[in-house]
């Protein structure tokens, strides 16, 4: 769930380099907007708007607050070279809350999207 679809589009497409898969207006307002990672076109991530056409004003306030606080961390993105990916994302203005750190399962960094959702970025050891 995102706070602003235009801003989210800019983040996922321009900063993360994802491709918009479906982008159509919804009858009730907002867009049905999905993106997918390059090389994985069959997995779509829905950038669903938190707005009054979908939820009550109460829910919108509740959800927006939680999203901004970084309540939701919904995915792990893996990459081949975490340092190259990290440097490129940083150069494009992505905010990281954890720099690449060696863990027992691999090397992991954590970044946030423009709404506050956080994601793990990981380079897993080669099998």
């Amino acid at each position: 769930m995102v706070l602003d679809q235009a801003s989210a589009y800019d983040f996922y497409v321009n900063k993360l380099g994802f491709k918009a898969v479906v982008d159509v207006p919804m009858p009730q307002g907002g867009r049905w907007l999905t993106v997918s990672a390059p090389g994985q076109p069959d997995v779509e991530i829905v950038l669903s708007p938190v707005n009054n056409s979908m939820y009550s004003a109460e829910k919108v306030a509740l959800l927006s607050g939680m999203i901004k606080e970084g309540t939701f961390g919904v995915a792990v993105f893996t990459c081949d070279d975490i340092y190259a990916t990290y440097e490129e994302m940083k150069a494009k203005g992505v905010v990281f809350t954890k720099a690449p750190t060696k863990e027992f399962y691999g090397t992991e960094a954590i970044f946030k999207d423009d709404s506050g959702n956080w994601f793990s970025l990981a380079q897993l050891p080669r099998p």
Partner: protein, 161 residues
Amino acid sequence: MGGTGRAVKIGIYRKFGVYMEDNTYPKMYLYRRLVQAKLFIDNHYAEAIDLDLIADEASFSKFHFIKLFKNTYRRTPHQYLMFVRIQKAMELLGAGMTVSEACYAVGFESLGSFSLLFKRAQGLTPSAYLDQQQALKAEKAKVPLRFVPGCFAESRGWITK
């Protein structure tokens, strides 16, 4: 070419100052130089890029640069440049641009080599790809809701079973 060289130098040096040193890791500066070179290709693919100049500005010997680049990005700088150009050409063709317009827009200087490279990379000629994309668009325009999951649309009362 001298003008381009100066622009590259300024571009790369300016970027180094942009972010603070939070923590360092081995090879950090090496990665940054490599990433800057890659981003340069991403941003200037439509121009006549001199890859020797990029290697130079990143302070690598040409051989070292190609090797490091390939290790990180699975393609040599030249292969990566071709890859970016073909990807952008596909986007332009998808948007309805003609084959020759797309060819020159992404920085190729010869229609023949563009078509050959495109076919080798994508399995079909640029014109065939263009026709395919037009057909796909026509189909989508007819039934827009088809690409929205049914249950989502249903729960909101847009369609009824």
